[in-house]
Amino acid sequence: MSAEMAIAVAILLPALGALLVALLGQSPNLRDCAMLSVATATFIVVCTLYPEVASGGRPTLHLLEVLPGLDLAFQIEPLGMLFSLVASGLWILTSLYAIGYMRGHHEENQTRFFAFFAVAISAALAAAFSGNMLTLFFSYEVLTLSTYPLVTHHRTPEALRAGRIYMGILLSTSIGLLLLGVLLTYHVAGTLSFIQGGILAGHATPLMTGILLFLYAYGTGKAALMPIHRWLPNAMVAPTPVSALLHAVAVVKTGVFTIVKVVVYIFGIDHLSSTGFHIYLAYIAGGTIVLSSLVAMQQDNLKARLAYSTISQLSYIVLGAALANAHGILGAGLHIAMHAFGKITLFFCAGAIMVALHKTEISDMRGIGRQMPFTMAAFIIGSLSIIGVPPLGGSWSKWYLALGAADTSHLLLVGVLMLSSLLNIAYLLPIPARAFFSKATSDDGHHGEGIHEAPLFCLIPLCLTALGCVLLFFFTDPIYQLLAPIVQP
Amino acid sequence: MSDALGLYNYWIAIFLMMVGFYNVIASGNLVKKLIGLSIFQTSVFLLYITMGKVKDGTAPILGDGYDTFSNPLPHVLILTAIVVGIATTAVGLALVIRIQEHFGTIEEDELIAQEDSP
């Protein structure tokens, strides 16, 4: 299969999968099998692209030219490769998990759920592969629209309200700011292609670059930079697999991925750092990191706490991009992968607890470690990875981010990173601590004492992602080697 | 003075147009509106015919002893415009009849009042 074909297949497969799922809606078993095989096939196709990209190739698929200088094109570069691997790989695990979760939770309208899920993956892959800003913008919007039915899955007034906030914030920022940024870029540079070293250098004045930077940063609502982060906690009304894959991996990562990509390929690191505006963005990201960590500490609902944690972690990546130096970008790129594995593990655990014990509030989770030892062990691993403790993946990305921060003369940013790690400990670790070391309250002992884990379909994926966190620590080098070319001048 | 004499016809035509136009806007009765419209249009015809007249000219029909003719082109245009005018009036009146049949009135304010309270 040629690389061009592979790109097209990788994007189309999930979309076809959606169709297949919709057609097979009558028999759930067949449907779920189909979905799993599509997910696996997609991952394999994405993998076939890896060698070429790793050896410096840039497979390209040029679809058509819409207007002069504006085309629909895909081109795989290292960042996109990494993101697509993460998204498609975790899709398999999430599918497994979703089967267990949706059945265990007796959810309705599962077919619709799986179909839109697949469409969202297709859009995320298209975003990952996009070869220019127009394609990226388009994929971004498709992703927004296709996840709306997932967020409002329960059709309760609460879900609909959350859906409105979700759509409202994501669409208004993307149309109001991101599109404006795209237009301005086109107006200034005459092209929207992603080119190593950026397209703005020599075209945009420093002030224009600064304006553009903020249009992109705030236009990409999915990056959940404060104060446009409200949609993310609201989106938690969705079933947990959605929160896990989309709102910890695909959707939000598309947001930060956009920002990183724009910084590298539109602004160009050198051009951006020469203007000096990137530091303001770095401070905004730093502020978001600290503030959302503080908010996370006050959340009792587990998913809400994880959501605020996500907001904080996303800002790490934005911060890395905003540092506009090699270490920062590498750290951001690594953190896309590391945080994905860590956070999806935590969400899987939250869902597992919900399925097995019907608990959503942290204060109710005393002593559940004895009922769900595997789940809670995985939870500890995920937490530690996010905090950045070796030997877990998260430590590498934080290391590079800290290096990047140190490379700028703004040591306050290093301080922010240190402080936030402490805050991470403060809001994540009490949960397993409470689960293992507190006595269960008497009133909800009806599940009995012995082990009461979630269905295997739920349990296996979460163990695998926890394992992933560990493995990523030892096998960081391939990722590093993959990403290294993008920061070379 | 020559100004006044030379433009008198136009001014009257304009005055008549505005009387018609006023009736179209101000009148609440649907038939009266159409009457206004018809006056408005007829007065525009006067504007055209006036510009076609030439001093000491005669009707543009070839005849012995005449060699100065008024311009026939505006006449042709206005012949067409008259037809358009009567066509519009007829369609308008047909609409008025149907409105009367359905709503029982042809006064604008009563029609609007009906809309508000179904």
Binding site: - | F15, V19, F21, S27, G52, V54, I61, S70, I86, T105
Partner: protein
Amino acid sequence: MIHVVDMTLLAFLAIVAIAVTRMTNLFATSVLTGVYSLLMACIFTVLDAVDVAFTEAAVGAGISTVLFLATLSLTTQREKPQRSPNWKALCVALLTGGALVYGTFDMPHFGDPQAPVHQHVGPHYIGVSPTQIGVPNMVTSVLASYRGYDTLGETAVIFTACMAVLLLLQHEKRRDEQSTVEEKPDKEAMAHAMILRVQSKFFIPLILLFGLYVQFHGDFGPGGGFQAGVIFAAGIILYSLVNGLDKARQIIPPNVLHGLVAFGLLLYAGTGLASLFMDGNFLQYRALAEEATHGEHIGILLIELGVGITVATVMTSMFFSFSGRRRS
């Protein structure tokens, strides 16, 4: 002298227009509008536009007044009085009028032979048309030949209006209704008025004859298909006013009437197409015969006939539709 007549008539016009605005009796206003058209026709005559005057008199004072009256008999005769003048409308009208008056100051003066209209295209018609078309009435030459396409459009306008009126007012066919119409004597007919009946017997043939004259004499004097059509229609309308609608409908059945409406337009467009087949452009009547002026004659005759037929039947059918609608 002309100035004095002209100014007096214009002053009359202004008075009538104001009267129309102030009166609330719609019957009176309709009739006054007819008077307005008649006065306008007089002015047109003074301004040498005899064909236009003819048409304005026939349409404005004739057909349109009849249609207004027919409508009023179905709706209401009085306008709801308005207490004060509508200031908003007055402002709009004054503003528009003011703008136009402002525009007049650079206009060529009334009757000025140096005005652009008398310098550019107009003189060509006056100078060349008698030999090129071979018709003494220049208005007819311009109307039927030079701007024959406009006149085709005009015929289409009147045809459109007929379609619109029929769409709006044609009766839905119901079985029960038809029988009752047959039996009931037409109350609105005025056949019992002896004087009217006798006079109409005398006048109607004259009117129709005059219509034919106007139709075929349009090349030489004022007149043509349009005026003739209106006069013809007036004759039929007079007949149906006196003898009742149903009788008139028996003489001219709706099917025939509607067929003729379509036929007139088709005749006009067909003449235009015919010249295509004789290697001319659309509506190029010169191509219809060996000699150019002869071809023009044939063409003009045919299209004037088309216009006449369409106008006469459209006016009649509109009148039938209006008065066929009974007060509910």
